[in-house]
């Protein structure tokens, strides 16, 4: 592969990887919030 190709593929892959990580952090936060919310709601229902 040419240096130009590596340059472009490298930058795109780094940003793609970071975007995936960004989305996974957001998704994890959302799921954890939902679980925590449900647990809290459940606890309140029990009361």
């Amino acid at each position: 592969m040419s240096p130009g190709g590596i340059f472009i593929q490298g930058i795109i892959s780094v940003f793609f990887g970071m975007t995936l990580l960004y989305l996974s952090i957001k998704l994890t936060a959302f799921i954890v919030d939902r679980i925590a919310g449900k647990a809290k709601g459940g606890a309140q229902d029990d009361k």
Partner: protein, 373 residues
Amino acid sequence: MINNLYSLLNTTGFVHLTPGMIVMWCIGLILIYLAIKKQYEPLLLLPIGFGILLVNLPLSGLMEPDVGLLWKFYHYGIHWEIIPPLIFLGIGAFTDFGPLLANPRLIFLGAGAQAGVYLTFFAAHAMGYNIMEAATIGMIGGADGPTTIFISSKLAPQLLGACAVAAYSYMAMVPIIQPPIMRLMTTKAERKIKMAKPRPVSKREKMLFPIVSTFLIILLIPASAPLIAMLMLGNLFRESGVVERLKGAAQNELMNIVTIFLGLPIGATMHADIFLQPKVLFIFVLGLIAFILSTMTGLLLAKLMNLFSKEKINPLLGAAGVSAVPMAARVVHKVGIEADKRNYLIMYAMGPNVAGVIGTVIAAGIFITLLAP
């Protein structure tokens, strides 16, 4: 009698000394001086400096293949890719990804700084280095010693010593190199931007992050597996809260032991015949350029993000995208404080700083995927 005396003299190192070896002694002694007197990355520069002295003592045979002690350290520790991942285990055990999880968009600043790596790769190749050497040199811009060593051992072992010393030297000089660039590329008003209060991050999120990110990054770039796996395992030790002994071992005993076995053989790769060549010495110039470019691209990306977001980012945070943890974050904080005494940026800067570690590993993984024989 004279013949016997001559033979005896020939078995000593004195008659085999070369001017190049004496130059290398001076370089080794300078590194030891910087480590002791100036405390520049002493944990590594001290053993590296001593390794340089040892390998440039004639007839010592310490780097003789299959026989020499330092050759064994090098071969089984670095060439077999054991020590850099173990260093990453320790880094993971030390790293708090909380600031990154609290403000996930800052992760892109860790990617922005990697543009400097690729720009330098391009420049180094244009200057006549072969493509694998150029990739290794570009990696210095990531400001990540273990990753630079890891990629160098795979792609350009002949440059390992120079690249490692350049990476650690420039990491130690972050407080000198980065502030002028940061001031040059930002206005005072930009440096005064206050960041929004970060959201609280739960323990559960911190625990899930190393697992989820290990899956994602290794699935995307399998070549990054050794480094990312160890980094995230160390972090899981830390965040799980149930293996305090393992966390402590990764942070202290193991980290200290592998640091010794990393520094000495790196120094030992710097024999006068290999090191004192214009091509190798020029790596220090290119490494500095890589470092400057990475800082600049991080700052530029932060400014670019500000064009599209309602909540402004202090562009200084972009400079923390190089992965010299936590030095780069501290420098961001210091430059921010100069502009506004009440603007505490350290916790925000740790986000792109730890993202930079991940970004550098991804960048290295891509080079290895595309170039490794």
